[in-house]
Amino acid sequence: MNVLRVILAVPEAVVVLAMPPLLMSVIAKTKARFAGRVGPPWLQPYYDLAKLVRKAPVHSRTTTWIFRAGPIVSLAALLTVALLVPVLTRGTPLGFAGDVILIAYLLALGRMFTVLAAMDTGSSFEGMGAAREVTFGAMSEPALFLSFVVLAVAGRSLELGRMVGAPPLGAWGPVGPAMVLVVGALLIVLITETCRVPVDDPATHLELTMIHEVMVLDHSGPDLAAITYGAALKFVLLGSILLHAALPHGGLPAWLDPPLRIAELAGLAVLVGVLESSLARLRLNRVPLLLAGATVLAGLATVLTLMRSTA
């Protein structure tokens, strides 16, 4: 690892960490446009975070240290994932062979602590939200792993940074149509994991229908800021995995990567905004069907890829 790489990694890290709330603004603005409104100011998510950080957290007397640890562990897990996922460039600061397993389970660790913190409050709403989150999380995991299998075979590596986008023209050449299925599966995983419509509705105030939002009802102040920021960061990280898999920049000069990736992430945010504006939310008992669909897509892609690579 040379000095130049380290120096370059600093501004990249700054951009990657500063960008997530802005992408939430892109989604909000897209939705506002569809609704005939102007929407909140571009920097509103930053103002909200600044406001929350200044507040003192309120902790219910019925909660234990788990409730306090929940947001911190979740955010820490996501920050660690950020070191393993290629976002603006092809490289990752900490990538190693087999890091995909770590990524998947760091995401699961974050989820587990959010769920435990929710159950710690003893609220029936939060218990329901936790049950939903765990159910849907468990169902989206196979889709994520099967997608990783396809990418691993295509990239001939178990390191995420090399799995996606490494060979010229990317994985599209060798495994072809399987990639279409993987991109579909990853998009569904992205929407589920980031709690967007049609799986969850981040804008609702109705506790009985919520999945993710209901679990964090009792968090306040900096804890809530960590959760809000973490949700935005998760969107960037999972979105980057999707983009690197779908649009490998194989033949392009390396300096073009960061601006192109930023534009692609913004495009993805617009796409999510358009989806949210044109679809109603699924009935909750239909969500498993959507996730099963994602798993089937990824499974089909795996079969195709394995046949192709052994043939």
Partner: protein, 517 residues
């Protein structure tokens, strides 16, 4: 000797008529249930059942049964006398006719009258009886919190869990407590406890200043101001034997339909919000405001407050304003129908509405539902068509009926009503009805009783007014359609995923204040 439930023990009555209170036929309290079941078999629907304390300590129960196909009501009275122990009891009507359940709980709570064998005898609004005696479930203690101390129906079992919502909600809505008995995501039973909004409206309606009394009537359910004011005015006008002019009646009709449009579009938009369908939700929210603004152009208030008064209306719609409103409503008609077409053509929206919260026609009929929620189950009842009064005697609005009884049907009935109300408005604003807008009400008939019903956007509102020997108002009983329909919401939730409660609730959108009075 008359047959039980026979016509000779009831008094037929139409809107606009008054009767001497003493001429209302009575049946013995022991036979009230049997008598009402007889009325039901002749095609009646229980419109109102309420008690009135007499000076001698007894309570007279008045039952209003509506015969919708024949455009008339029948009223019967029944006196409950204290027994040897000084207790007031009578055999309950509810076991024979579930539609009476809330009314009998109300009578028990107001006067301490025990309806024997009532299957669901629980406080309705949680207040003391009028003379401080104990209600059948015990004396009232203001120190005890309401939902914590309520005899909730409970489902027992390892896997059953209980979810409590409210009375303070996440949105800016009225207070009410909802208790779900759930098995996983499925609701086995929902119990709704209201009473947090009780203001004693019926007592305030007796204010000697009719303008003050009317503002109370308008705030029984604030989003149905016109509907309640209309029913109240109709009752007073019947007692004063005054007829409003055609012009005033037309303006009342315009205001009533504008209120319906504002609420129907607002609720359809809110249904879209609940299923996260953004475009229709925001456009319908804006259109609701436009309809409210049209009302404001007529009388200066978006909810039509102070537009009606006994004897007519306080604001005229001059021809140039009528023309301007017509142009605006034509524009709104185009926009509204376009947005509603978008909403009802989205398969993802329909997938959430269809089959959610189903009520059968039989259930709706048993519990005596009214309004769009009843019409969505196939019950044909609409005061504007069945008991036409005022402008609806001349302009008929076809009844909107659906049959599936789910959220979709309730939304579709409102969609149809939006269409038809707009057509009615454009036609009525084009007519040039004659007459003064206001004629002062004469003295009220002494010792008389009259009623007014109006089809608010939620259903039938009913006000019954009694005068004393001096011709002053002595007693008023108000009814908001919500009291019929809250039980319907509870029934509709059985077997539904708990996450579909908000969209079900919104499809009914019942009034808490109207229930609590």
């Amino acid at each position: 000797m008359s047959a039980v439930g026979g016509r000779d023990r009831t008094l037929p009555l139409r809107q606009g008529q008054y009767v001497e209170t003493s001429s209302v036929p009575t049946v013995p309290a022991e036979e009230l249930g049997e008598h009402l079941v007889g009325s039901r078999e002749r095609g009646g629907r229980l419109a109102h059942l309420f008690g009135r304390r007499m000076p001698d300590g007894s309570v007279v129960i008045y039952a209003f049964v509506a015969f919708d196909a024949e455009a008339r009501f029948e009223v019967t009275a029944s006196r409950v006398q204290p027994d040897a122990n000084g207790r007031l009891t009578y055999p309950a009507v509810t076991p024979h006719w579930p539609a009476a359940q809330a009314f009998e709980r109300e009578i028990a709570e107001q006067y301490g009258v025990h309806p024997l064998a009532h299957p669901w005898l629980k406080p309705l609004r949680y207040h003391a009886t009028d003379d401080g005696t104990a209600a059948p479930w015990g004396p009232f203690d203001p120190e005890r919190p309401i939902p914590g101390d309520y005899p909730f129906y409970r489902v027992e079992g390892e896997e059953v869990h209980e979810v409590a919502v409210g009375p303070v909600h996440a949105g800016v809505i009225e207070p009410g407590h909802f208790r779900f008995q759930c098995h996983g995501e499925e609701v086995l039973h929902l119990e709704i406890v209201l009473g947090y909004q009780r203001r004693g409206a019926e007592r305030l309606l007796l204010h000697p200043n009719q303008t003050r009394a009317l503002s109370v009537a308008e705030t029984i359910a604030g989003d149905a101001s016109i509907g309640h004011a209309l029913a109240f005015c109709t009752a007073l006008e019947a007692l004063g034997q005054s007829r409003v002019s055609l012009r005033a009646a037309a303006i009342r009709g315009v205001a009533l339909e504008l209120e319906r449009l504002a609420n129907h579009t607002g609720d359809l938009g809110a249904l879209c919000t609940d299923v996260a369908f953004l475009p229709s939700s925001s456009y319908l929210g804006r259109i609701r405001g436009e309809f409210l603004n049209v009302t404001a152009e007529i009388c200066g208030n978006r909810f039509g407050r102070s537009l009606l008064r006994p004897g007519g209306v306080r604001f005229d719609i001059p021809p140039e304003l009528a023309e301007r409103l017509r142009v605006r409503l034509e524009e709104l008609q185009r926009e509204t129908l376009e947005v509603l077409d978008l909403m009802f053509s989205q398969s993802s929206v329909l997938a959430r509405f269809e089959g959610t919260g189903v009520l059968t026609e039989h259930q709706a009929d048993e519990i005596g539902m009214v309004g769009p929620a009843a019409r969505a189950c196939g019950c044909r009842r609409d005061v504007r068509c069945d008991h036409p009064h005022g402008v609806f005697q001349f302009s008929h609005i076809p009844m909107a009926v659906e049959t599936t009884g789910d959220v979709y049907a309730r939304a579709a009935v409102r969609w149809l009503e939006v269409r038809r109300s707009l057509e009615f408005l454009l036609e009525t604003l084009g007519n040039k009805a004659e007459g003064p807008t206001f004629r002062p009400l004469g003295a009220l008939r002494p010792s008389a009783m009259a009623f007014g019903v109006s089809e608010t956007w939620r259903g039938e509102a009913m006000h019954v007014a009694f005068t004393d020997e001096g011709g002053d108002l002595a007693f008023v009983k108000a009814k908001d359609p919500s009291i019929h329909n809250w039980f319907g919401l509870a029934l509709a939730l059985r077997g539904v995923p708990v996450s579909d409660f908000p969209v079900c609730n919104k499809s009914f959108n019942l009034s808490y204040a109207g229930h609590d009075l």
